[in-house]
């Protein structure tokens, strides 16, 4: 009956520029009214009219699932906000610099009252171009926020050299090749880069290709610096050029493709079992699958152990029926995942 309210989650390590981006969003002449849920209330002024300060409260669900955590403060505040529908058009949740984005996202899957009233539009992570490389080494929270992101705003790009900028981009890509990456100075990015993304909308999962193939092909991906743990290997992708590639020791992405159909009788038990056993390590997952005998595409996405999947549009005439899955996570058992998925081929 009512339209669901979009919720944008703004993450980023301390000092990266979250509040700058938030104030930019609120001050643009878009004619929209935002309700803003902030932490570290009062530290820097927020210009909006409907601003709520909360303590982040991560609740474990009493169902034995260790990674089914939700944000209790979000459930409580959304319940109050929903009493005044029409007073605002969208909600922005600014997390603390040390927050894990997963419980925020999981709240939208686990809590029926929240998911009936609102939907998660995207997780936007603001990163500091000068300090991110260092944070990725010493702050697991910063790495989580990069791995989890749908959109990354690489801020303060004017404070680093072009070579340093390329290095930090490569470090981000080593963790999360799928997020949209925008360089910025003082978070000056177009609003449609961060709002209205519908990143968790199954209908919008049209293709799962690394974002740089679509968005950043104008950049040169060759790198001059290579640290101790970096290695180089050629890529044979559509753009046809190779680029140096960083390897992150503990956070990676795995993409596996089957050139054809999969058997749902094999795939569904496999993915359920994988998300149960490896869920704590899997931050995000996505897939587009051709089920044998099914004219429609099956799409799914997941956050840790929580999976959400559905049949989507028909495979188009002339569109190759391929099945592809992608995981971003910590210490992923790549060989096991690969072997398991390939065994689901129909």
């Amino acid at each position: 009956m009512d339209q669901k309210i979009p919720v944008t989650v703004l993450t980023g390590y301390l000092g990266a520029g979250k509040t700058t981006l938030l104030n930019r969003i609120l001050s643009e002449p878009h004619g929209k009214k935002f309700a803003v849920i902030v932490n570290e209330f009062g530290e820097i002024g927020i210009d909006g009219d409907l601003v709520v300060g909360v303590d982040e409260e991560v609740f474990e669900m009493n169902n034995g699932c260790i990674c089914c955590t939700v944000r209790g403060d979000l459930i409580r505040i959304l319940e109050g906000l929903m009493k005044r529908r029409g007073k605002f058009d969208a909600i922005i949740v600014e997390t603390t610099g040390l927050a894990d984005p997963a419980p925020v996202a999981q709240t939208f899957f686990v809590d029926a009252d929240v998911s009936n009233a609102a939907f998660l539009d995207a997780v936007v992570t603001v990163a500091d171009a000068k300090w991110l490389s260092q944070r990725l080494k010493d702050a697991p929270e910063a790495k989580n926020q990069i791995a989890f992101a749908d959109v990354i705003v690489l801020n303060k790009s004017d404070l680093v050299s072009p070579a340093e900028l390329r290095e930090v981009q490569a470090r981000i890509r080593a963790i999360n090749p799928y997020a949209r990456l925008h360089e910025s100075v003082r978070c000056a990015v177009p609003l449609d880069a961060v709002l209205g993304r519908k990143a968790f909308d199954l209908d919008r999962i049209l293709a799962i290709e690394p974002a740089f193939l679509e968005a950043e092909h104008e950049h040169d991906h060759a790198h001059e610096h290579a640290g101790d743990h970096d290695h180089t290997h050629g890529h044979d992708h559509q753009a046809g050029h190779s680029h140096r590639h960083y390897h992150d020791e503990d956070m990676q992405s795995v993409a596996i493709e089957i050139d054809g159909d999969v058997d749902p009788e094999k795939f569904l038990p496999w993915i359920n079992n994988l998300s149960q056993t490896e869920g704590p390590n899997i931050l995000r997952s996505k897939g587009i699958l051709a089920f044998k005998g099914e004219p429609k595409r099956f799409v799914f996405q997941g956050v840790h152990m929580i999976l959400d999947g559905d049949l989507q549009r028909d495979w188009q005439p002339g569109e190759a029926r391929r099945s592809k899955i992608v995981f971003i996570g910590r210490d992923l058992k790549q060989d096991m995942i690969r072997t398991g998925f390939l065994a689901c081929a129909a």
Partner: protein, 334 residues
């Protein structure tokens, strides 16, 4: 659906548009009164509506009433009292929301904002306590000056006038609403995991009542304390509390089963009749003795969920309201 005038009460309902989510429906000194999310109280007197601003430019989040007064809290951080004529500010929690509020007939009032709970006795003396996590529900115990507050990982029982820290009834998970049986023997909370949890106070025995497809957000005791009516299923679920151990080992009763979720329940003040409100705007009265169902409101088109209801002290009228800003008064035929 054909309506038999003999068993339908739909002709005894008066509707008013109030244009905002109805947070509480009650009677103040006999007048139907609706506390609205837009910060106002609407009173019905002599077929006229009187609008009183309780929380200017703010959202009224929670309200609780006695026969003559209503206490409300808003996202402006204010706690106010009204008798339907005047509005008096009781407290102001700067920069906070008032998440829960409860008023007892003797004038004792308690409210919470995030982790802070305050309790004000009828003489106006206020005491405060800070709990480990944000409070979602409050209820007074029937005997003495003691308050139950539900939160993450349990319910705290607090004597505001004692120096001692609150007693914790611990149970893992997020506890939302809390209620105390009229005889004070049982504390029951609703949980994030679509179930109820309970404690028998005498020996702190745990009770667990599960099987709901949704969260229970409305709980109501029968006048004799023998039954607890609950929302959260496609019927009103009634748990028996006559036995020494309450509903332990017993099955609940169901009434008012329909293909729609129950959102609100309210027992009649002196008879075993329960008013049941649904997510599609329906409202029925169910008589426990024979299971008879009497439709009170049966909209044929999409309607907002019932969000509030309350009986008058004599049990002759029921005020109720919806999320989409409709307010109703049922007057039972004599």
């Amino acid at each position: 659906m054909r309506e038999d005038p003999a068993v339908s009460l739909t002709g005894h309902v008066v509707e008013t548009k109030v244009e905002a989510h109805v947070v509480a429906a009650t009677f103040l000194s006999g007048l139907p009164a609706f506390a609205l999310a837009d910060g106002c109280l609407v009173l019905q007197a002599d077929n006229q509506l009187r609008r009183l601003v309780l929380h200017p430019e703010a959202t009224l989040l929670a309200a609780s009433s006695s026969e003559t007064r209503l206490a409300s809290g808003g996202d402006d951080g204010r706690v106010v009292f009204t008798d339907g004529h005047e509005v008096r500010e009781i407290a102001r929690e700067t920069g906070q929301w008032i998440d829960a509020i409860v008023l007892r007939a003797d004038g004792a009032l308690a409210w919470s904002s995030s982790k802070t709970v305050r309790c004000r006795d009828s003489a106006g003396l206020t005491k405060s306590v800070r709990l480990a996590s944000s409070v979602r529900g409050l209820a007074f115990l029937p005997k003495g000056y003691r308050l139950a507050a539900s939160h993450y990982n349990g319910v705290s029982l607090w004597f505001p006038n004692a120096e001692a820290n609150p007693d914790l009834l611990a149970w893992k998970g997020s506890h939302i609403d809390v209620t105390v049986s009229p005889d004070g023997r049982f504390i029951i909370s609703s949980m994030q995991e679509n179930c109820l949890h309970g404690w028998k106070l005498a020996d702190k025995q745990n009770l667990r009542m599960s099987g709901y497809p949704a969260k229970t957000r409305s709980l109501s005791w029968s006048h004799d304390g023998n039954w607890l009516a609950t929302s959260g299923a496609d019927a009103c679920i009634l748990w028996p509390f006559q036995a020494k151990n309450g509903p332990m080992g017993q099955a609940p009763r169901e009434c008012g089963g329909r293909p729609a979720r129950v959102t609100k329940v309210a027992f009649h003040p002196s008879a075993l009749i329960v008013a049941i409100g649904y997510e599609d705007g329906w409202l029925m009265l169910c008589r426990m003795s024979d299971g008879a169902e009497l439709p009170v409101r049966a909209p044929t088109e999409a309607a907002g969920a019932i969000s509030a209801m309350g009986w008058d002290a004599q049990g002759r009228r029921l005020a109720f309201g919806s999320r989409t800003g409709e307010a109703f008064v049922l007057t039972l035929p004599s």
